[in-house]
């Protein structure tokens, strides 16, 4: 046997191979191998979940969770042995009221021939080791991350030679495991709490019964696997009618033919956990979406504040200078008559008269201005021409003269006199050097009414 060490869950090394959650003498243990191939036993603890086993750990079922029934079944050609075992167990009524849903495992131990019946051929029967999971698996023992669930006795090595009985303590009770030809056959808890005379009597009676049922032959050896030497002290061994000796506990190992008797409660528990996880995920998603929406709302609300803060700072840097320049512009507006060509009477008089008196542009013959009226807001021109075409030419020139750009011209329909001459009137709103839109509108209104 490899050397083994006991450790607390907190100080245990991380397991390198498969982990076994085993019902030990005092409580639940986790057996595993370390990276340097040492056997490690963590525990005991009250509940297997406390051992924090990695996913896929083998859960060794204690005796109180299953019903062990070694049975003989006839071999029927064309019918699988499991089917026959199922019928037999149902006959015995150990599969409960709903046999289809019961969880059980079986393994063939040995075969023997039966005497031929009258007129019939030779028949054989098989000894089957079976275990039926009992209903009401304790919730405390459910480990969601656990993998295969195996009968504890099947995970332990048989005595040397392959056959014999093993006495071991399991969660405070003595259990008798029977092995035949290297296979687990049966596990039976003893009523006796201590290995004393009563226990010896109970054990001998039990073995005699099993022998009578032809389940076991002569018992070659009884092994007591325990950490304590209590059996020898109480004279238990000396009362046994067959060879008996003690040996240290053995580490569990995976059975050759796994049964995996998963309790239905575990499946339900896992489904409930999946549903809870899904619900939790949905709630988390909803909370996340809510938090995101809140975050976006806060960002949306804070964006103008940040924007105002940044631009107010930029504005603060140039506000004084801009105010001073604006003041200059307004001063200039008040003095516009002095310098602004668009408000200068002489300049405007020259520009509107230019085509009538100057060769550049070519002089418009037959057009005469009779009125030039300028105030600070508008310019009114009245005149007459020999015909309408000349009036239109003059008005077009006024509107297209680049020197008069900025003046908004409007003119009423020229009037045609009886002698063919035409009179006209054109009015222009003077531009405002400094933008005061309300003021400009006011001027326009006044100009149109005049």
């Amino acid at each position: 046997m490899k050397s083994s060490s006991k450790a607390r869950a907190s100080s245990a090394e991380s397991p390198a191979g498969q982990v076994f959650l085993f019902p030990g003498p005092e409580g639940w243990e986790a057996w595993s191998r370390t990276s340097d191939n040492q056997i490690q036993c963590v525990g005991p603890v009250e509940r297997p979940a406390k051992l924090r086993a990695p996913p896929g750990a083998v859960f060794c079922l204690p005796c109180r969770t299953f019903f062990s029934v070694p049975i003989w079944v006839r071999e029927v050609e064309g019918s699988p042995s499991r089917e026959q075992v199922g019928f037999r167990l149902e006959e015995k009524g150990v599969l409960g009221p709903n046999p289809e849903n019961s969880v059980w495992g079986a393994e063939s131990i040995r075969s023997e021939s039966l005497p031929a019946a009258d007129g019939g051929g030779a028949e054989t029967r098989q000894l089957q080791a079976t275990a039926i999971l009992l209903p009401g698996f304790p919730d405390d023992w459910l480990v969601e991350s656990a993998g295969p669930h195996e009968v504890a006795g099947r995970t332990l090595p048989p005595p040397r030679g392959g056959s014999g009985a093993v006495l071991r303590r399991e969660l405070g009770r003595w259990i008798l495991d029977l092995y035949v030809q290297g296979k687990w056959l049966h596990s039976q808890p003893l009523l006796a709490r201590n290995l004393n005379g009563d226990a010896a009597v109970e054990l001998v009676a039990l073995l005699a019964q099993l022998e009578a049922e032809n389940l076991i032959g002569d018992l070659p050896l009884l092994l007591i696997r325990d950490e304590k030497e209590s059996a020898a002290e109480n004279g238990f061994i000396s009362q046994m009618p067959f060879p008996c000796r003690t040996e240290p506990r053995m580490p569990p190992q995976a059975p050759v033919h796994p049964w995996n008797l998963q309790p239905p409660a575990l499946v339900e528990h896992r489904q409930a956990q999946v549903a809870a996880a899904k619900r939790k995920k949905t709630i988390r998603f909803a909370l996340g979406a809510y938090a995101l929406a809140l975050l976006l709302a806060v960002a949306f609300l804070f964006y103008p504040l940040v924007w105002i803060q940044i631009h107010s700072r930029a504005l603060g840097e140039i506000r004084d200078e801009a105010g001073r320049i604006k003041n200059v512009a307004l001063t200039w507006q008040e003095a516009a008559f002095l310098l602004d060509p668009k408000k200068n009477a002489l300049e405007l008089l020259w520009q509107v008269s230019r085509p009538l008196i100057s060769p550049d542009p070519p002089t418009m013959e037959g057009v005469q201005l009779t009125t030039f009226s300028l105030n600070g807001r508008r310019l009114l021109l009245q005149g007459k021409a020999t015909d309408l075409v000349k009036v239109q030419a003059y008005l077009d020139w006024l509107k297209n003269n680049p020197e008069l750009v900025g003046l908004t011209w409007k003119n009423s329909q020229p009037r045609l006199a009886a002698d063919g001459t035409a009179t006209f009137q054109a009015e222009a709103v003077l531009p405002m050097p400094v933008g005061k839109e309300g003021e400009t509108e006011e001027i326009k209104d006044e100009g149109s009414s005049g």
Binding site: A297, F300, L301, P304, L305, W307, I308, H311, S312, A314, L315, I318, R319, E321, A322, G323, I325, K326, N327, V328, A329, L330, T331, W332, E334, A335, F337, L338, L339, N344, A345, L346, L349, Q368, L369, T370, T371, F372, S373, L374, N375, G376
Partner: protein, 175 residues
């Protein structure tokens, strides 16, 4: 304490949800109100900033103009400057050969940034005389400009009737 039934628990959840919804609606209303005010303020700051930037961009032009105004415009020193303007206009009108049919001397007008006095004249003469007089009287270096001009062809062409307002601008003394 008596444990709640499933129906009571459901009702409690619905009540909680309703309260929560109400709180959210109130918060949403407040948030919308706050956001609206912020957006208005944002637009104001944006417009203010755009205007300020516009002024700063034209800084060199406006400073040159201010320099011209500082250099050429006089500060009002005389108690009654309109008298000097009247004298100046009358002299120039006489020199140009125009006839004064009437005049109206305007009192000192105090603007926001400049002060001005004006003399409104009714003149008669031909166009050439009027134009020459306008050229003579217009003197930006002294702050004198024609602010109104109403020129009409008279009943006896080429005689013209003119109504002219000549104004003199003064720099306002800083308070």
């Amino acid at each position: 304490m008596k444990a709640l039934r499933v129906r009571e628990k459901k009702l409690l959840v619905w009540l909680g949800a309703a309260v929560l919804l109400g709180v959210h609606l109130i918060l949403l209303q407040q948030a919308i109100r706050l956001d609206r005010a912020n957006r208005v303020r944002m637009a104001e700051v944006s417009a203010e900033l755009a205007e300020a930037r516009m002024w700063v961009e034209g800084k060199s032009m406006w400073e040159a103009r201010m320099a011209w105004l500082d250099k050429n415009l006089a500060v009002l020193k005389e108690e009654k400057p309109e008298g000097a303007l009247q004298k100046l206009t009358q002299t120039s009108v006489s020199k140009a050969g125009l006839t004064i049919e009437g005049q109206d001397l305007r009192a000192l007008r105090q603007g926001e940034r400049m002060d001005s006095v004006a003399n409104r004249l009714k003149l008669k003469g031909n166009l050439d005389q009027i134009v020459r007089w306008l050229v003579a009287v217009y003197d930006p270096a002294k702050g004198i400009a024609v602010t109104e001009l109403d020129l009409r062809l008279g009943p006896e062409p080429p005689k013209m009737n003119a109504q002219v307002e000549v104004a003199q601008f003064f720099k306002k003394t800083k308070p």
